[in-house]
Symmetry: C2
Subunit: 420 residues, 2 copies
C-alpha cells in the first residue's frame, strides 16, 4: 500500500501473477467460472457494510477536496447500488460461456480435422475513474471469459475499490479460484497507469473506462492494444421518406433520453426533401434541446441559434444538438464521413433502398435504421453487459462483452499427416 514501489516492477510482478492465475482459470470447466462469479456476487452482498464504510471515507474525502456533485454521485454507493452491483455479477455468472466454443471447423483433403476454438485473451488491464462499480463489473466480465484482470481505479474511489475487490476475491477464492485472478493495483501513483500502458507482453489488452481525457491519455501512450472509443459524435439522418412521428420520436429520444452517454445523438441531418423539417426542429427544441442550425435550418426555424464550423465536430454530451439540412442520403453519408467518429449513426426512412444504401456506406461501428442511437449499449444488444464500446477497426467493434474478451486457437487433429 506504499506509493514508493517502482511502478514498472510492480506491474511486471502483478502481470506474472495474473498470467499464472489466468492459465489455471482458463483450464477450469465452465461451471467453475460460473460458480466463482456467483460466489463473488454473494460475497459482495455479505460485504455491504464494509463497502459502505469504505465508501463513506471516499465520500468524506471527496467533499473535502471539493469534487463536483456529479462526481460525488458517481462515487456514491448505497444498499441499492451494492445490490445492483451484486446482481450484475450474478447475471454475468449465468451468461453462456464463450470459452471452448467452436467458431468453425473444416476437414482438409488430407484428412486433417481443423477447428477454431475460443480461448481467453490472457491478462486484461482496466483503467477507470470514479465509479467504484466498474471494479465488480469489469472483473466479472474478464473472469467469466477466463481472463485474469488487473484493475486500476481512480484515487478518489480507492477505499471503495479495495473493499469491493476484497469481497470479489473472497468469493473467487471460496469457489476455488486463485486469488491472483483479479488484482487491484495497490497504489494511486499515476505512474502505475503509465507502467500498465507500457506493459507490452505483460498485459494483453487495456480497456479505459472513464472520461475523454483518460481515454485520450491511454490511446496516446499505450504500447499495449487498447479497446476504447474517444468520441461519440453520432448522427441521425431523417430522409425525405421518413415517417414524421417516428422521426420526431427518435430524434428527441436519441438526443435527450440521456445526454451524457456516448450513444447520444449530437447532430441531426435533415433531408431537404423532408416535408416536416420545421416541425422536427420545433419538437427537439420544445423537448428542451438547444438547437444550433446551419443557414437552411435557420430559414425553417429562425428562432434557433447559428451553428459554426466547430459544431459539426463537437460531442456536446449535453442538451444541445446541431442541425444541418442536406441534399439526400448521399450528402448525409458524406457529412458523416467528414465529421463522424465511427460510433453510432442512424437513418430514419421508409424507403428501404435508401436505408440499405445508408447502412452499406456509413462506416461506423453501429448503423441503425429506424431506431434510436441510444440503443448503443451491450446490454441492449443482448450481450449481457459490456466492457466498453470500441471504435477502432481491429479485434472488436461496437459494444464489447464476453466474445471481445476472447481470442481463438487453431486445433488440428490428424492421423499422422506429414506435409509433402
Amino acid at each position: 500500500m506504499t506509493d514508493t514501489i517502482d511502478p514498472l516492477a510492480l506491474i511486471a510482478d502483478m502481470g506474472r501473477r495474473a498470467r499464472a492465475a489466468g492459465a489455471i482459470v482458463a483450464g477450469l470447466p465452465s461451471d467453475a467460472r460460473r460458480a466463482a462469479l456467483a460466489a463473488a456476487a454473494d460475497a459482495l452482498r455479505a460485504a455491504a457494510p464494509a463497502i459502505l464504510a469504505a465508501n463513506a471515507r471516499d465520500m468524506a474525502h471527496g467533499r473535502e477536496i471539493g469534487l463536483s456533485g456529479a462526481m460525488l454521485d458517481r462515487l456514491m454507493l448505497d444498499d441499492t447500488r451494492i445490490e445492483g452491483m451484486a446482481a450484475g455479477v450474478a447475471a454475468i455468472a449465468d451468461l453462456p460461456d464463450p470459452i471452448g466454443t467452436v467458431i468453425d471447423r473444416s476437414a482438409r483433403p488430407n484428412g486433417l480435422q481443423l477447428s477454431r476454438i475460443r480461448v481467453p485473451i490472457g491478462v486484461i488491464g482496466i483503467i477507470y475513474e470514479s465509479r467504484p462499480n466498474v471494479t465488480a463489473d469489469a472483473a466479472a466480465l474478464c473472469v467469466k471469459a477466463g481472463n485474469a484482470v488487473i484493475l486500476r481505479g481512480g484515487s478518489e474511489a480507492q477505499h471503495s475499490n479495495r473493499a469491493i475487490h476484497a469481497a470479489l476475491v473472497a468469493g473467487f477464492v471460496e469457489a476455488g479460484l486463485p486469488a491472483d485472478i483479479a488484482l487491484l493495483v495497490p497504489t494511486t501513483d499515476r505512474a502505475a497507469v503509465g507502467a500498465m500502458l507500457a506493459a507490452d507482453g505483460v498485459i494483453d489488452l487495456v480497456v479505459p473506462r472513464g472520461g475523454k481525457s483518460l481515454v485520450a491519455r491511454v490511446q496516446a501512450e499505450a504500447r499495449v492494444p487498447v479497446l476504447a472509443h474517444l468520441d461519440g459524435i453520432n448522427h441521425v439522418y431523417v430522409d425525405g421518406s421518413a415517417a414524421p412521428a417516428m422521426a420526431a420520436a427518435i430524434a428527441v429520444n436519441a438526443k435527450l433520453r440521456r445526454t451524457g452517454v456516448c450513444g447520444a445523438m449530437e447532430t441531426l441531418l435533415i433531408d431537404r426533401a423532408y416535408p416536416q423539417a420545421s416541425a422536427l426542429i420545433t419538437a427537439l427544441a420544445e423537448a428542451g434541446c438547444e438547437v444550433r442550425g446551419d443557414a437552411a435550418a435557420r430559414v425553417l426555424d429562425p428562432s434557433i441559434a447559428a451553428a459554426d464550423n466547430a459544431d459539426w465536430d463537437t460531442e456536446y454530451l449535453d442538451a444541445i444538438a446541431s442541425v444541418a439540412i442536406v441534399d439526400g442520403v448521399e450528402a448525409a453519408i458524406a457529412h458523416i464521413a467528414a465529421h463522424g467518429s465511427h460510433h453510432t449513426d442512424a437513418i430514419i426512412a421508409e424507403d428501404e433502398r435508401i436505408a440499405e444504401r445508408f447502412i452499406a456506406a456509413v462506416d461506423s461501428a453501429i448503423v441503425l435504421w429506424n431506431a434510436s442511437t441510444q440503443f448503443a449499449d451491450g446490454g441492449e444488444f443482448g450481450l449481457g453487459g459490456e466492457i466498453g464500446i470500441a471504435t477502432g477497426r481491429l479485434h472488436a467493434r461496437g459494444p464489447v462483452a464476453l466474445e471481445g474478451l476472447t481470442t481463438y486457437k487453431w486445433v488440428g487433429r490428424g492421423t499422422g499427416q506429414v506435409r509433402p
Copy 2:
C-alpha cells in the same frame, strides 16, 4: 521517385488517397473485386517481359552489392515464377468474398433486428523485403477483402516491385477500380517505413513480411496495429502412447521438410515413457539433422551433441534440433509454456485423453495432434493463401487470410424503436 520527399507527408497523402479508394472499392459488388483481380492476373502475364527486364536490373544490382545466393534466389523472377504469381492472384480472385457476409444475427425483445456484417478494415500497410512476389500476393489479398493497400518493398527489389505494381494497377483500372486502391511507396528511404509505423489513424494495420530483424523493428516502433510473428520456436511432443512409425515420420517432416519456414519444429520433446526414444533420435540424425540433446537424451544416444540453455529458446531455421526428455504431457506443456513462441506445437499420441489435455493446455496459435508442424500455413488450412501468421492475441491468430483482413459493423433494423 525522389528520395527527398518528407516521409510523414508522403505517407499521410498516400493514406488519404488509399482511404478514398478503399471506400469506393468496399462499396462495389463482390463480382467487381473478383473481376479486378482476374484482370490484374492477366495484366501480370501480359507484363512478363517488362517485369523480367526490371528484375534483371535488380539482379544485376544485387550481384554488384554482393547479395548472398539465398537473397538473390528470393529476388529472382523467371517466367515460371511470374506465372505462379499470376495464378496466385487469379486463385485469390475466385475465393469466396468475405465482405457483406453476416457473422450472426439476433432479434431483440423490442423487435430490433441486429446483425454483424463483415466489412473491410480500411488501409493495410505491407512492409516487406526481397521477395517481389509479395507485391502481387499481398495486394491481391488486401483488395479481395475490400481494403486499400500501401506497399513498401525492399530497395533491392525496387524495379521488380514497380513493374509488378504497375501491372496490377493496370488490371485494376481496366476493371474499373480506382488506381489508388494499391499504392507503392515511391521511395526507398528507410524513413518511409518509420512514417508508416507512426501513421496511426492513416494506416489501420501493418503486416511485416520478411526476416526477424524487420519484424522486430516493426513491432518495436509501430504505433499502428501489427499482425505478425517474431519467432516460430515450435515443439513436437512424442507421448509414451505415440505410434513409433508416425512419431518418426512427423518429427523428421516437421524439422526437415523445409528448415527455413516458421512452422518448422525446433525442439523435440520425448516422453520418458516412450519406448522408442533412441530410434527416434537416430531417425532424425540419419535424416540429416544435427541433434542437440539434454543429459537424458545423450544417455539414449551418446553420439549427439549437448544442448545448452540457449538451445531451448533458439529458432534454428536450419537442420538442427534440440531434444529433451520430459516426464509426460504435463512436463511437455510446462516446457512449451516456458520456451515456446505461441506459434505451432504438436503432440504425437495414441491416447486421446492425453492429446486433448495437450490441446487444451498449450497456449499457441496452432496446436496439432498427430500431424506435422509444417502444416502451419494458410494455404494448407484451406484459406486460399495467407497474408502472414500472427502470434499476437488480438484480432486474428495463426494463419491470416481474407477474414483477418476484415472487421465488422453492427447493423440494427428497427420499426421506430426508442430506448425507454
